[in-house]
């Protein structure tokens, strides 16, 4: 599996995701600077978490206009897998690769904590090693993770089963109380219709390491590696 990780100025989870991907694929990913105008041939392109361009103006807005994003879009059309985590998810919505947008958390403060997620769609290259309705514990760390889209868009992604993960509690209950940031329908991550683009606010790369306390992200990475190798 060949992986490219795009590094924007202000990205700060690029190393973390590289470490996790290497752990499961045994190969060093390419680190691609945002100013590049071509991408190495890759099965997976990752837009990592962080604060690209300081999160100024709107999270992900300036990164979405970086030169490399033209190439990412092209690759996406060709069917490469694209993964956006946290800031990467924001960049995907800003560049139109995924619908909707991420606005300020309802509580107006940055939130970093473990959150239980319910696996909704386990039919994708990113999630196939989970069981449907698995409850997994994955950390979030964001200030703008409140997923918003128009009613029609929400209906569409619900109908087409494009929701990968929803926030829930330890019992799997999905409601306002178990929603950390105000996201519509407790949405934590979505996939596109083609099934090759996933955006999610929680950080699976922070849940692949026993000594750091969490391992529920392992299936996420084994899914990707198995699907793309």
């Amino acid at each position: 599996m060949k992986v490219s990780i795009v590094v924007f100025p202000g990205s700060n989870c690029d190393r973390d995701i590289a470490v996790s991907l290497k752990k499961f694929s045994n190969k060093d990913p390419f680190m691609v600077w945002h100013k590049e105008t071509s991408l190495p041939d890759s099965d997976l392109i990752v837009l990592p978490g962080g604060f690209s361009y300081g999160d100024y103006l709107r999270c992900g807005s300036m990164a979405a206009n970086s030169p490399i994003m033209k190439e990412v879009k092209k690759s996406s059309e060709k069917g490469s897998a694209i993964l956006g985590i946290c800031n990467g998810f924001q960049i995907l919505t800003e560049s139109g690769l995924l619908p909707g947008t991420l606005i300020r958390n309802q509580g107006l403060s940055f939130l970093c904590k473990n959150t239980p997620l319910k696996v909704q769609n386990n039919n994708s290259i990113f999630t196939k090693n989970y069981k449907k309705n698995d409850i997994i514990n994955i950390p979030i760390a964001h200030n703008e993770g409140n997923y918003f889209a128009s009613e029609t868009v929400i209906e569409e992604i619900e109908d087409k089963n494009l929701i990968a993960f929803r926030y829930c509690d330890h019992n799997g209950d999905i409601d306002l109380k178990t929603n950390p940031n105000g996201s519509r329908n407790n949405i934590a991550g979505i996939i596109n219709e083609n099934g090759n683009v996933l955006g999610m606010m929680p950080h699976p790369e922070r849940a692949t390491d026993k000594s750091a306390g969490l391992t529920d992200g392992e299936n996420f990475f084994t899914s990707i590696v198995e699907s793309l190798t």
Partner: protein
Amino acid sequence: MKSLVKIMPKKGVLDPQGKAIENSLNQLGFSEIKEVTQGKIIEIEIDCDNEKDARVILENASNKLLANLVIEDYEITFPKED
């Protein structure tokens, strides 16, 4: 030339900041304050000598970067210099 791009949340879009300000103001006793919406204003010095051309450039910039049309509307004005 000085120009302003005012960017406001679209009607119906959740505006957590505006809501929070509204609540705080009401709690502080500003009972006359009814509805609060928070937006952004971007002041731009543009090198262009007529409003028509400037407007085209700024519309372009707003569509491309400054505003997110999924949730925001924008408005361009040219304040008179004082």
